[in-house]
């Protein structure tokens, strides 16, 4: 068998047998399963079992007698604040509020409770608001108008294709969820795979096995075999995650049926996900190999690689800005910049459309960067891989690049 293939096979098997790799591969679907379980449990508890809460109120101006049942909340009228306080202390009511005589001018409602709270629970304030509105408008406008005033906007957006027909891809969070989650997984997988590569090289350098390997194979064979072998393991990991996603979504659909039905894959998503995983991994692999060559220990190498993982992750930090301002030119820059491109493209696919020219330029820039860094790495590798225990200074690296 070809020596590159031998190294590839060895690295692939070595990586997938690692405890860290197995845990990482299984933990993503397991965490998903756990999250669904917890959500089902929580929604089960918060569901029909909820009890009716009694809230007191004091109506000083008068005229607030109707609509005392608001969903699960029952409103009971008291004549004075003292009576209401007494009922609260006795535990007959959970809390009470006072509609003061100046309410019509100020809109102020004073609320009294025994509980320590960050803010009024949204269910309670919604119920009070609806109670007040309904009473204020009762008899003045038809009941249907009261409902509309309480919820005046139910926005339904339909995206049209340039032909005027309804577009197949409708956007919205249903469109964003898979690219969003996948960009996170892609990033994790790229970081883990390149860390394995870095660690492997560091270990071989530390225990001098690298010399035995290089007395059998060339630097090119060693690097190619390692990069592809570990990359194949990373791809297998992503495959496990991708395959487990539909299963998890099926499981989850009983809980979030309405939302799940809106989940859809953006066009070209799978093809671009594979392309950007491969390019992103290769970029990080060649960077890791270069760093592995110049750093004294694998630990030191991992500190260096953090300089590159930060920009890789950065599109996730800005994803909420991307949702608000999807047309800002900065996103085109992040799409073309090779180190941010893999994650940025995944997120953008879910939020808006990416012009074809940007994708073409982005992929071309990534391919060129990979080739360029690979050439630099092979040069640096030979010189510094055998310098144990000391790291060359930047100036020395530059000099050796020039002299080759």
């Amino acid at each position: 068998m070809n020596k590159t293939l031998l190294i590839l096979r060895h690295e692939f098997l070595h990586t997938i047998k690692r405890k860290g790799f197995i845990i990482m591969t299984l933990i993503v679907p397991l965490v998903g399963l756990l999250a669904i379980g917890v959500l089902q449990l929580v929604s089960g508890i918060a569901g029909p079992a909820a009890e009716i809460t009694t809230i007191g109120y004091v109506d000083e101006p008068g005229g607030f007698q109707q609509f005392t049942t608001q969903g699960q909340i029952e409103l009971v009228r008291f004549d004075t604040p003292d009576e209401a306080t007494q009922a609260l202390v006795n535990g007959d009511i959970k809390e009470y509020f006072v509609i003061s005589s100046s309410y019509q001018e100020t809109g102020v409602i004073n609320r009294y409770t025994l509980e320590k709270q960050l803010e009024t629970p949204p269910g309670t304030s919604a119920a009070i608001k609806k109670f007040l509105t309904s009473n204020l408008l009762a008899g003045k406008v038809p009941p249907a108008t009261i409902d509309l005033i309480e919820a005046p906007l139910n926005l339904v957006t339909t995206r049209l294709a340039p032909t005027g027909a309804v577009a197949p891809e409708q956007g919205g969070y249903g469109n964003f969820i898979i690219p969003g989650v996948f960009s996170l997984l892609l990033m994790l997988s790229i970081i883990f795979s390149s860390t394995y590569l870095l660690q492997g090289l560091g270990d071989e350098k530390e225990n001098r096995l690298i010399e035995v390997l290089l007395s059998s194979v060339s630097v090119r064979q060693l690097l190619t075999g390692k990069v592809l072998g570990i990359g194949a393991a990373g791809l297998a990991q992503v495959a496990v995650w991708v395959i487990s996603t539909p299963l998890l979504l099926n499981l989850a659909s009983s809980t979030f049926g309405g939302f799940i039905s809106t989940v859809q894959l953006p066009a070209n998503f799978l093809a671009l996900a594979v392309v950007y995983f491969i390019l992103g991994y290769l970029l990080f692999a060649v960077i890791s190999a270069g760093i592995g060559a110049i750093s004294a220990t694998s630990r030191e190498g991992q500190q260096f690689i953090a300089i590159f993982t930060m920009p890789l992750i950065s599109p996730l930090w800005f994803s909420s800005l991307l949702m608000l301002f999807p047309d800002n030119p900065i996103w085109a820059v992040l799409t073309i910049l090779p180190i941010t491109a893999p994650v940025e493209v995944m997120i953008r696919l879910g939020v808006s459309e990416i012009p074809a020219w940007q994708l073409v330029v982005s992929i071309a820039v990534m391919v060129l960067s990979i080739i360029g860094i690979l050439l630099i790495t092979i040069r640096v590798f030979r010189t510094y891989l055998l310098m144990y225990g000391k790291r060359p200074r930047l100036g020395e690296v530059m000099r050796s690049l020039r002299s080759g």
């Binding site: 031998l6 225990n207 001098r208 035995v212 390997l213 007395s215």
Partner: protein, 299 residues
Amino acid sequence: MPAVEVNHIVKSYADKVVVNDLSFSVNQGEIFGIIGPNGAGKTTTIRMMMDIIKPDSGEVTVLGERLSEASKNKLGYLPEERGLYKKLTVIESIIYLASLKGMDGPSAEEKADGLLEQTGMLPHKGKKIEELSRGMGQIIQFIVTIIHNPELVILDEPFAGLDPVNTELLKKMAADLRSQGKAIIFSTHQMNEVEELCDRILMINRGRSVLYGNLAEIKSWYRSNSVLLEFEGELGEVPGVTEKHTRKGHVELVLDGRTTPQQILERLVGTGLVINRFEVATPPLNEIFLKVVGGKNNE
């Protein structure tokens, strides 16, 4: 065809010349010693021979050609610092590294079994490398070095950290390889280590060759003008001997410039002395090295 031919190689790192215009050749069927103190440039020279690093100038040919991916299969290299994949078992490590030398799995395992048996390591075949002692790891690495039946074996400080039993085992295996016609290169800073093994040596200091040639000849060049004697009886005045030094268990006789050791032996036999040992004193390589380097430094 020599096993290795090195012509005027030079290597420098960051303005420091580590190997300076070194030339030598190693023949098939001989054990060749590269000796010198720590930092003399031995390992750098070996790495250039192995094509792990490139010389700045000069040329290395191995088995008649410049080293290529195919000819790397004919080399066995035991680096100075040793290590194997800690998490792999002994047999997995051997088979993987042998496969990179072009061996297929079954024949590598068969050969490995034989070598493990020979070195007494067979019971540890399924153990992980991290479970082995340092010495055992070294034996495994030696097996990895020779398993593919290389034409040229390079051993960089092979005995460092080994116990006497394993040292003897490795020496015997190296001698066996020589008798099979393989070329073996030993590199060490323990100069006395190579005396009993090497046919020829290259002594280097500060990247330069200071002595190169047949070990016996080199030692005879530096032979001091004295003989070592162990005897029973009374040693009287011996003509031609200027000084007598009593050492532990023997006496060193320093000869005048005109008398040969052969004449002294004849005279001693003539006195009726019982002679248990008579030896022309040759200095150990250590002393020769100090003499040579001292001389060079004074130049």
